[in-house]
């Protein structure tokens, strides 16, 4: 169920169910009242057993505010004490990625990240009054779980936050299905609007630090795929095919 909602209106909450708050919904700690805090499309979903209700507002915002358990793509910016400084979005404060925030990391055995390298991580601490922290561990298994360093062969680009959300969570969206007709790709979507993508082998170097001849083609595909996804933010579903065609037009 989706409808428009503005701050100040009341949320259609059910009684006697557990309520899970998503972005855009806020619980006043004094009155315990749940209110919408942003304008946009309201999503209210109740599970089949009628025990849990999920509430969130989909808004078109550009500023990313880290929330616990969000998946993010960040760029390492430097070090601060025992942590890496990671930038999630230009113009925002850096977040911290502890040296210990990797699977099997110990004081002696820690990953060595350089400035400019990208990581896929999970927000592990989101209290905005202190430094926000991210980590590359899946908390349920304690293993990698898909997190970790994103290698330099891929390409990072930015999309709006709600589009990143759509790509990551809407399993019925057809963007990737269409893209897979053109090329095979590997992708990491951050809810902070950064997306890392690689088609084929991406940008690969040989031992002499020369670009592999086959790489250039893969890189062109990667950039075309990124352009296609960027374009998809602004078009209706019927135009997707055309956009895909246009983006890959110059490639064989």
């Amino acid at each position: 169920m989706t409808s428009k909602i503005y701050p100040g209106e009341t949320l259609p909450l059910q009684k006697d169910v557990n309520i899970t708050l998503g972005p855009g919904a806020y619980k006043n700690p004094i009155t315990q009242e749940i209110i919408p805090v942003s304008a946009g499309l309201l999503h209210c979903k109740t599970n089949k057993k009628q025990t849990n209700q999920l509430v969130y507002v989909e808004t078109k915002s550009k500023r990313y505010i880290p929330k616990l358990n969000d998946f993010v793509v960040g760029v390492v910016n430097g070090t601060l004490g025992e942590s890496y400084k990671v930038s999630l979005q230009e113009g925002s404060n850096n977040v911290l990625l502890s040296f210990m925030g990797f699977p099997n990391a110990t004081k002696k055995n820690r990953p060595n990240l350089k400035n400019g390298q990208a990581v896929y991580a999970r927000v592990s601490q989101d209290v905005s009054e202190i430094d926000i922290e991210i980590e590359c561990i899946d908390p349920t298994t304690g293993k990698e779980g898909g997190f970790g360093v994103l290698d330099e062969s891929g390409f990072i680009f930015e999309v709006s936050l709600n589009f990143a959300n759509e790509l990551l969570f809407n399993s019925s969206s057809i963007y990737f299905e269409k893209l897979s007709e053109k090329c095979k790709f590997e992708i990491a979507i951050g809810l902070n609007g950064k997306i890392w993508i690689k088609c084929g082998e991406g940008m690969k170097y040989d031992d002499n630090n020369e670009l592999l001849p086959s790489s250039l083609n893969d890189m062109k595909y990667t950039v075309a795929a990124a352009n296609y996804l960027k374009n998809c933010q602004f078009i209706s579903k019927s135009q997707i095919d055309q956009s895909l065609k246009d983006s890959f037009k110059h490639l064989s």
Partner: protein, 275 residues
């Protein structure tokens, strides 16, 4: 190495443009003296305003031109000054109403709304279109005091523009090592026009050329950065001249179109008056 650099090395750009291809600017003309110019995601709002004032004591025969920009960028303001004021693009002497006593003061305010590379070129382009379109109110001098008319009361005065400076920023990239750049006789540095934000971040050096369609260079600055072969520099200047000719024509078309629009409006107003 990044995707950008590898692409540039192979003579291509991530944004799909050719190395010497410019973005097509869009101009949105508002009321008298208000103009927004945008190219890609770069967006600049330019406001021209005028006042009656007194000339500076050391220059009694000249009006006053003030150019402000809101981001306080030294390079931007220096090059805009050199290109527009120092080159006499706006005839300051025509702004004097009474020598040493009364003159117009023209203020240009640059508001940078969004940045996606190449501010300098589009600032100068926007300022020139705006100056060409700008109308000063007509006036009469009555008993030593000045009486201004509204713009539709009495035909307003256009500014006298002596030439149209066009500015190009060329970014240079060194695909090899510093030693090769310094010692090799070959020209392998790559030059690229109208860089966007990411391309500007990666460039090794840049050169800003301002010229006009009379084949005059108004300003040329390459403030350090990787050295570029002199023959290459000359070649680039020639390319810029060709582009400047096209650009001047484009500006004239834009201005003509806009003036036709306003003259239609004036005619309509006159018709209403007659009734």
């Amino acid at each position: 190495m990044s995707y950008h650099k590898e692409f540039i090395k192979n003579g291509e750009r991530l944004n799909g443009r050719k190395l010497s291809e410019l973005r097509v600017p869009e101009v949105d003309i508002g009321q008298n003296g208000e103009l927004t110019i945008s190219a890609g995601d770069t967006k600049i709002f330019i406001k021209i305003s005028s006042e009656i004032s007194k000339p500076y004591d050391d220059k009694p025969n000249e009006g006053i031109l003030i150019i402000n920009n809101d981001i306080d960028n030294d390079i931007l303001s220096r090059i805009v000054e050199k290109s527009i004021r120092k080159s006499n693009a706006l005839d300051l002497e025509s702004l004097v109403i009474s020598t040493g006593k009364i003159c117009w003061i023209i203020k240009i305010d640059l508001n940078i709304l969004n940045f996606d590379g190449n501010l300098i070129d589009y600032c100068i382009l926007g300022i020139m279109i705006n100056l060409l379109l700008y109308k000063l109110p007509n006036y009469d001098i009555v008993d030593n005091s000045i009486k201004l008319y509204n713009l539709d009361e009495k035909a307003p005065i256009s500014l006298s523009i002596l030439h149209i400076p066009i500015c190009f920023t060329i970014s240079f990239y060194n695909p090899s090592t510093i030693e090769m750049n310094l010692k090799s006789d070959e020209v392998f540095e790559i030059s690229l026009f109208d860089a966007d934000k990411q391309e500007e971040d990666l460039r090794d050096s840049y050169m800003v050329i301002t010229l006009n369609s009379n084949k005059e260079i108004i300003q040329l600055s390459k403030l350090g950065g990787i050295p570029i072969n002199s023959v290459e520099v000359l070649k680039l200047c020639e390319i810029c001249y060709d582009k400047a000719k096209e650009m001047t024509q484009w500006i004239k078309d834009v201005v003509k179109k806009e003036e036709e629009k306003t003259s239609d409006r004036v005619k309509m107003l006159a018709a209403v008056d007659q009734r």
